[in-house]
């Protein structure tokens, strides 16, 4: 079975869970499950020994859970669970149906743009810690979409940010994840250490490039022996796309 079906099944279940909570069913708010809330709560916990605003223990506990996961399986959370990653990927596939040869972001620009998420990460935490408010809500597609522009959204600015993000997602595969996601930035140092990763057998690789074409993150597995790249989500799209038998394999290795 293609790994994608397995991935999409799990992601659909999790997305359905978020929608269920966002619609007001269940005993929790969907925001309780945002791991980045764990990062946002750290300052309040350190300074006052309590969670600020509407953040809670679940945010922090989930953050810890998926940081441990990143140490084991890189950004598997992004590739196998994140609802925004899932929606971005669906957007990518949808535009791929009508736009077969989309222009790639030049490698140099792409490298710089990938650093943007650290700026988002730093600004989000700085303003959250400074004001004690969840400033990111006004710019966060996860919050804006699932809360229906709830408390914390900032009117026109939120609309502009969301529309710009959606356009970005449709033009550039995984635009939000690659360039803007502060949770992705949180994982980066952990993800590099993750020991379950895709490994390439150089002897049988024909350098056809099918793996890079399949990679939602636009990585180039054929240029690496072990995919250590911090942005690899272990989605295994490259493994499924590779026409050569057992050239790309999922392995436990340092």
């Amino acid at each position: 079975m293609k790994t994608r079906y397995l991935r999409y099944s799990l992601m659909s279940i999790l997305l359905a869970g978020v929608v269920y909570l966002a619609l007001g069913f269940g005993t929790r708010r969907f925001e309780d499950f945002c791991p980045f809330g764990g990062m946002e709560s750290l300052w309040g916990l350190w300074r006052q020994g309590e969670f600020s605003c509407t953040l809670g223990p679940l945010n922090l506990a989930l953050l810890i859970g998926i940081l441990v996961l990143a140490l084991v399986a890189k950004k598997a959370f992004c590739g196998w669970a994140c609802p925004i990653g899932f929606l971005s990927e669906l957007g990518m596939r949808l535009t791929g149906l009508v736009w077969h040869k989309r222009p790639a972001v030049p490698a140099h620009t792409d490298r710089w743009l990938r650093l943007l998420r650290y700026a988002v990460f730093a600004l989000a935490l700085y303003f959250t810690y400074k004001t004690g408010e969840l400033i990111l809500r006004g710019y966060d597609p996860f919050f804006l979409i699932f809360s229906g522009f709830g408390h914390g959204s900032i009117g026109l600015v939120s609309w502009i940010v969301l529309i710009a993000t959606v356009i970005g997602v449709l033009l550039v595969p995984m635009f939000f994840c690659r360039y803007l996601c502060p949770l992705g930035a949180t994982f980066d140092p952990f993800s590099r250490l993750g020991f379950i990763k895709v490994v390439r057998n150089d002897n049988h690789c024909t350098q056809c490039g099918a793996c890079q074409l399949a990679c939602p993150q636009d990585l180039a597995p054929f240029k690496m022996n072990k995919i250590r790249h911090r942005d690899c989500t272990n989605c295994l799209e490259c493994v499924d796309a590779c026409p050569e038998k057992d050239v790309l394999q999922l392995k436990a290795t340092l």
Binding site: L6, T27, G56, P57, G65, V68, V72, I196, Q249
Partner: protein
């Protein structure tokens, strides 16, 4: 060492599930109030409307002077209240009806602020 791909979703689910269980380690009460009566039994309620420090303080005040309530702990992030009470003096139905009673608003109207979603001994 080769890894079967099914391990990835299993690890993801395990990480999310462990996170969910781990939350208990970080859970602190938002308010803890002792009402002076003798306890005996405890009851746990999930309460809609109990969502922050302000609503937790307001919620606790509803039980001021109510006989039979020993302590109330609220957990705003869990939307939960835990009552220790004397079953000889007060019933869980009464505890529920107090929180769900319509409350007077500033504009003269009255509105139900809290809804008890679940109640468990």
């Amino acid at each position: 060492m080769n890894i079967p791909r099914i391990l990835l979703p299993l690890l993801v689910v395990a990480a999310l599930f462990s996170g969910y269980l781990l939350r208990a380690a970080f859970t602190q009460p938002t308010t803890t109030v002792s009402m002076g009566s003798a306890g005996g039994k405890t009851v746990e309620c999930i309460v809609d409307g109990l969502k922050c420090k302000g609503t937790a303080a307001f919620f606790t005040k509803l039980y001021t002077g109510v006989p039979g309530i020993a302590t109330i702990e609220t957990f705003a992030t869990e939307h939960k209240a835990v009552f220790s009470y004397d079953p000889q003096v007060i019933t869980t139905d009464r505890i529920k009806s107090i929180m769900e009673a319509p409350l007077p608003m500033r504009d003269g109207s009255s509105r139900q602020v809290f809804t008890c979603r679940t109640i468990q001994d």
